[in-house]
């Protein structure tokens, strides 16, 4: 594949679209699909066929505003229709040329769309994720061809370092540094692994990217493999994401067909191929060494680091592991330059971040904003605030490893450091808004149950410590806890975070610590007054019964 051939495919694809520019794009990503957008698509197809209208009906990826799904975009006018039902097909098709259907209209001028800055999601909802030609027509694979034919691997590593990109899986380790380590480590075989084991409950960014624009991730992985000298790749996807698995599988076959995977890619000496590995429902496999054990077909128990996977990873070979969103940033960085990327964001956190904005907020969906956007902008401008009659209480970031941030910090800009200072973490990008109907003790209890049953059981502090913390929190939610139990809980938080073997245990106390830090009075009420102000816990009713 050369630039000329690439351009030819892009031109042909664009030409075909221009010949009959009218099209209806139906979101068939997970959110809209669970609102039966597949039926909407079928109904539109039948209507177009019945009326003989000149219009293509395409299935595309996520358009972001999932709470108003199923979403349908009418091109070339750019109109967006919300909450479309199968029965709306006739009206939509009838009005293809004239005025849009006002009843279904969803403005793109609203802050939800205007406030965003799309890099990772630039193609989401715009291209058919199962057609490689559409990705190519959107400048896809140009970065890979450029990397292979015009620059050397070290220059790629330099460019990624210059971009300031940091790992989007949560910890924020500088991506360029990681790539540099793997590229410098000697090894007969090296591996690239994409971590798509998006285990945080309440997060669906990676799922959406894989379902909406799989080639972007594939291209990022191939560029990474070239940069670090790897010949083999794996993408480890959760079993709970069958559509993502299917679409990525299609992407791999398509990429092989056009020669972006295989041997002598783009007539160079570079060989690279990859396969999909399906997870088994274990949150701990998001941890690098556990993920590697899982790909090797073993129990997903982490091992102590060092050695880091960059030195001794899959089958003890140097291995680069990045998450989906990290790889998805790579094609844009290589195409537009590290300086361009570094111009977005804050001093230490560059670029954009994709968040799954959910919970008690009007506009639920997938958003991409520059690092440094404030929580208030995200929740109130993009998210449209909470539902009527309830008061905002906290926003949860980082899932079971993160924390709850209260109202007084909403003007803080979102970046790796500021969230950590608040006792939470960036995490993979789940952002769950909670209002006064949520009890913070109950939320801590919920996450501790999660960590307890997701603990691999290898090290004692995590295995037994999370079970003890869960028991103490259960007492609090039942109204049977004493002040002594709170002391023990705090002592355990410190011990488990300081002594656990891997990140799961080390961060398991975070939801408790952050709620204790900002909502301690709620704990005290549960203990002293046997009262849950949100009315979630049944602590009052059980006093004297279980005690």
């Amino acid at each position: 594949m050369t630039f000329e051939e690439l351009e030819q495919i892009a031109a042909e694809t664009r030409e075909n679209r221009e010949k009959s520019p009218r099209e209806l794009n139906v979101c068939v990503a997970a959110g809209c699909l669970s609102l039966h957008s597949d039926a909407v698509k079928k109904s539109l197809e039948e209507e177009v066929k019945r009326t003989g209208a000149t219009c293509r009906v395409r299935g595309t990826g996520c358009m972001g505003l999932c709470s108003l799904g199923p979403l349908v975009a009418s091109e070339p006018s750019g109109q967006l229709y919300k909450s479309v039902a199968a029965a709306d097909a006739a009206e939509i098709v009838k009005n293809l040329e004239g005025a849009p259907v006002p009843r279904l209209l969803c403005s793109r001028e609203q802050p939800f769309f205007q406030r965003q800055n799309l890099i990772v999601l630039e193609n989401s909802g715009r291209i058919d994720p199962e057609k490689i030609e559409e990705y190519i027509a959107a400048d896809g694979y140009r970065a890979l061809v450029h990397a292979l034919t015009e620059v050397n691997p070290n220059e790629i590593v330099q460019e990624v370092s210059k971009s300031g990109l940091r790992g989007r899986g949560g910890a924020g380790y500088p991506t360029g540094l990681k790539w540099g380590t793997v590229s410098k480590t000697a090894g007969t075989t090296k591996y690239v692994i994409c971590n798509a084991d998006e285990g945080d409950p309440g997060a669906f960014m990676d799922r959406s990217v894989l379902e909406s624009d799989p080639h972007r991730v594939l291209e990022g992985m191939a560029i990474a493999a070239y940069a670090v000298g790897a010949t083999r790749g794996y993408i480890y996807v959760r079993a709970e994401y069958p559509l993502a698995v299917k679409r990525f599988g299609t992407a791999i076959r398509e990429a092989r067909r056009l020669g972006f995977l295989g041997s002598q890619i783009c007539n160079t000496k570079f060989n690279f191929d990859m396969e999909v590995r399906i997870g088994g429902g274990a949150f701990v496999c998001g941890e690098e060494t556990a993920l590697i054990a899982s790909i090797e077909g073993r129990r997903g128990a982490p091992r102590p680091r060092p050695p880091y996977p960059a030195q001794a990873g899959l089958w003890d070979m140097p291995t680069l592991i990045n998450n989906v969103e990290t790889f998805a940033n790579i094609p844009s960085i290589v195409r537009r330059g590290g300086d361009w990327y570094a111009s977005i964001g804050t001093k230490k956190s560059k670029g954009t971040k994709v968040f799954a904005l959910t919970g008690k907020v009007r506009n639920v969906g997938l958003i991409e904003v520059p690092m440094g956007t404030t929580l208030r902008q995200i929740i109130y401008e993009i998210g449209g605030g909470g539902p009527e009659g309830h008061k905002f209480k906290a926003v949860q970031t980082g899932g079971p490893s993160g924390g709850c941030i209260p109202e007084q910090f909403l003007d803080l800009s979102v970046d790796y450091e500021s969230l950590r200072e608040l006792g939470s973490i960036m995490g993979s990008g789940g952002m769950i808004v909670m209002d006064d109907s949520a009890c913070m003790v109950n939320v801590a209890h919920y996450f501790m149950e999660f960590c307890m049953s997701e603990s691999c059981g290898k090290c004692i502090p995590c295995r037994s410590g999370t079970a003890q913390m869960f028991e103490l929190l259960t007492r609090m939610t039942l109204g049977t806890a004493t002040a002594r139990d709170l002391e023990l809980l705090e002592e355990l938080c410190d011990m488990v975070s300081s002594t656990s073997l891997c990140g799961l245990g080390q961060s398991a106390p975070n939801p408790v610590l952050s709620t204790l830090r900002y909502f301690r009075d709620e704990y005290i009420e549960h203990i002293n007054e046997k009262r849950c102000r949100a009315g979630v816990c049944e602590c009052g009713s059980t006093v004297g019964v279980t005690a």
Partner: protein, 239 residues
């Protein structure tokens, strides 16, 4: 070129020591008579890094590091005893006692148990955490040995000796988290296992009364894992 590993000098608890570059902090400390508590470690088996009792402080490193898997480095300053470390170690022991049913007075390994010794050594006189009292079985189906899950601390020494030394792979770990427990083959009664060679190595390396010989009682049930070093040395020579 001289293939001999280089020698590193470091400081452990204020004492200057030297060690080979491929030695762990634990090795180096024990060679210099500096004790570091361990439960999952056993000389001659691979390291699990799981019990967290051997965590030590390293100057310039914010996180505590396990001495069993951390290799010595030039100029390293290691602290093996501090109020913080001792507190965490006591809590590890407390968590183990609360996790299953460890009743020393009626245990075959009473006074010959590494968990009991560790509690004494660390001054754990009582457990502050709620006991979980799980209902766990005792497998007496093997003609010579018994597995009492109530006493197991999941150190996996038995799994490692069975895999790495005997090569039978009879022992494995079922499930995960606090529900994890040891199994033989496809979770069948030990006595019906056709992979078990009845070598008894697992019994000898077990630190508690979880695995014991039926015929031995009292002082006779003292365990002796010293065969490990002998076997490993002999293998080295044959190679």
């Amino acid at each position: 070129m001289n293939p001999a590993p280089s020698v590193k000098t470091l400081m452990i608890d204020g004492k200057d020591v030297s060690a080979r570059a491929d030695q762990s902090i634990l090795d180096a400390a024990r060679e210099n008579a500096i004790p570091i508590p361990t439960l999952c470690h056993l000389d001659g088996l691979s390291e699990a890094g799981a019990c967290r009792l051997c965590l030590v402080e390293l100057k310039g490193t914010p996180r505590l590091q396990p001495a069993c898997v951390t290799l010595v480095e030039e100029g390293m300053e290691v602290t093996t005893q501090s109020p913080r470390l001792e507190k965490y170690r006591r809590m590890v022991v407390e968590l183990l006692f609360a996790e299953r049913n460890h009743v020393c007075s009626v245990c075959v390994s009473n006074n010959m148990c590494e968990l009991q010794d560790m509690a004494k050594q660390l001054g754990v006189t009582h457990v502050r955490f709620p006991y979980r009292y799980p209902r766990l079985p005792v497998d007496t189906t093997h003609e010579r040995f018994t597995m009492d899950h109530n006493r197991c601390i999941l150190c996996t020494r038995c799994v490692r000796v069975c895999t790495e030394i005997e090569g039978a792979h009879t022992w494995g770990v079922f499930g995960r988290g606090v529900d994890a427990h040891l199994i033989t083959d496809l979770d069948i009664p030990w006595g019906t296992s056709d992979t078990c060679t009845s070598c008894g190595k697992c019994v000898q390396v077990c630190p508690t009364g979880a695995l014991f010989e039926k015929s031995k009682v009292g002082m006779q049930s003292q365990k002796n894992p010293d065969f490990l070093n002998y076997l490993n040395e002999m293998r080295e020579i044959e190679r």
